[in-house]
């Protein structure tokens, strides 16, 4: 499970020396925050959020991207729960890519902020996808939820209301029913841009009857869009048409050990085996099914990267099968993937405080501090 920090705010120590801006030119999650320190050594930015008891979580996760510079010294200090973590250029620069930074937080308390202090005069830093995570036995569910959040398909059908609709109504009239199925999930949008999703229960001519009453008020000419929602096995009850479904068809048991490096010590983790996943598109209209599946081929197809528990994970296509309508069933396109859920943390090594080493051939003690 991964949650981004909520109700976040970025506050500079000196607004004249530090520029903070939203950025979409480069990011991990789709949008990030840029921090530009100009002649601002030891100035800082406080990243504040709704307090979280981090002892209930395993790691604080954040992603950094830094404009490169020639220095061997530390360039950035990150302060969490009163502890400073100094990072050098080599700790952040990742061959032109974003770098994930992890902190074990099992010993931390309730935290309300993270401080980013520039240790050099000029520093341009991008920060993204800051949150906290823990990986439990529901790691498989995390995969389904992450895929569901990542995949989106455009049915590309819209019409307009042919009459006003009052709040509480169940019937709506539309100008065209082309490619609207008996069980379409639709979105009603009013002139102010408010969007209300609802599902068709039945239709008669150009009159659509909804399963539940419409809550908003709409005028003739307002847009009605037909959507292709993503639904996952066991977690959703609605079965709209069209639908993109995620279904687990296999799971493998395995225990592959690994070491996870965090800024405050390594962890012993184990991958517990992969999941076999089918992602299918099911639509009663074959023409629209072909269109949706080609969109899927283009956007996901052979392999794609998605965000899973704070990581960027790549999954690859094993095969795909098209099944036509043969016994009254909807035609369906199915894609088969294997994906390895996040590893389970077996133990935290923690950091070494002070280690005293006394060489046998010398009488002088050597103290190493980490």
């Amino acid at each position: 499970m991964f949650d981004e920090f909520q109700n976040v705010a970025w506050t500079p120590s000196d607004a004249g020396l530090i520029t903070i801006a939203d950025n979409t030119d480069t990011s991990v999650s789709g949008a990030c925050t840029s921090l530009v320190f100009a002649s601002a050594a030891n100035e800082y930015v406080d990243f504040t959020f709704t307090g979280v008891d981090l002892s209930q979580w395993q790691e604080v996760v954040l992603w950094l991207y830094m404009r490169d510079q020639l220095t061997a010294d530390n360039v950035l200090r990150i302060t969490i729960d009163g502890t400073n973590y100094d990072l050098s250029r080599a700790d952040i620069v990742n061959a032109g890519k974003w770098k994930q930074i992890l902190f074990d937080c099992t010993e931390m308390g309730t935290v309300y902020s993270i401080r980013f202090t520039s240790l050099v005069a000029n520093l341009t830093l991008f920060v993204d996808y800051v949150g906290h995570r823990k990986v439990g036995y529901d790691m498989d569910v995390d995969v389904i939820k992450a895929l569901k959040a990542h995949i989106s398909l455009d049915y590309d059908v819209a019409t307009t209301l042919s009459a006003d609709v009052s709040a509480g109504a169940t019937d709506i009239s539309v100008d065209s029913i082309a490619y609207i199925t008996d069980k379409s999930l639709i979105e009603l949008e009013d002139a102010s841009g408010n969007i209300e999703p609802t599902q068709i229960e039945s239709r008669e001519g150009t009159t659509l009857t909804m399963g539940v009453s419409v809550t908003g008020t709409y005028s003739e000419g307002d847009e009605v869009r037909i959507t292709c929602p993503v639904r996952s096995e066991d977690f959703d009850e609605l079965e709209p048409d069209p639908v993109c479904g995620i279904n687990v068809y296999d799971r493998h048991a395995d225990r592959t050990p690994d070491i996870l490096q965090t800024e405050n010590g390594p962890k012993y983790i184990e991958y517990l085996g992969s999941l076999g996943i089918i992602i299918y598109i099911d639509c009663s209209n074959k023409k629209k099914l072909l269109q949706l599946s080609r969109e899927f081929d283009n956007k996901y197809g052979k392999g794609f990267v998605f965000l899973l528990d704070g990581d960027k994970v790549t999954i690859y296509l094993e095969d795909s099968v098209f099944s036509d309508s043969i016994i009254g069933n909807n035609p369906r396109m199915a894609y088969y993937y294997f994906v390895e859920p996040q590893p389970y943390s077996q133990s935290v090594f923690g950091t070494t405080g002070t280690l005293t080493v006394i060489p046998q051939s010398l009488s002088t003690a050597v103290t190493i501090e980490s």
Binding site: E239, Y249, D250, I278, S323, G328, N329
Partner: protein, 195 residues
Amino acid sequence: MVTCRLDQRSFDEFVKGLQELGHKINDPNLQLHRAKKFREYTIKAVSSGEIDLKALSGLTQAISGGTYGPIWKTGGVLREMGFKSTGKNTAEAGYWDDTTRMLPGKKITYAGWVRALHTGFRIPLKGDAGERVRWWFRKYHGIVFKESTEWLIVPPRPFVWKAYFDYVRTNKDVEAVDEFLRGLSNSPKTTSGAS
């Protein structure tokens, strides 16, 4: 200075063994043997429940009139699974090549049915098409669905994929190759006449 003396007889046997190995690796019957072994494994794994497919629903069992294995009560679908040589060094298994061959008593080809089992499917119980499905179940099986039931949902049971991944993961393919190369198989040793 180190002097090596060659045992000509041992060397000749070594070269002969290498030539024989090269000959066997290029034998199209090796690929055919692998395909045959995979087919045998798939039938065994599915029929024994070894690959843990989703259980059949009560509705499917009611239509059939009894309990039966995970895929088909007669095993006919699996027995139709083919294997063949497709080239000098290739063979295929796990396919149903006769797309016109129909399931007994059904208007469905074996290939179409296997595809549907692999993708899973759903049949509407609403609208005009749904009314026809309800009528069919009522007339031929005495089954009446609740008015609120919208779909007849059959989950995916991709038994060929599951069998294949288990086959590879448990080193069955390596064993099949080893078996062939050791000459323990009954495959013919000529390079022609693969069937």
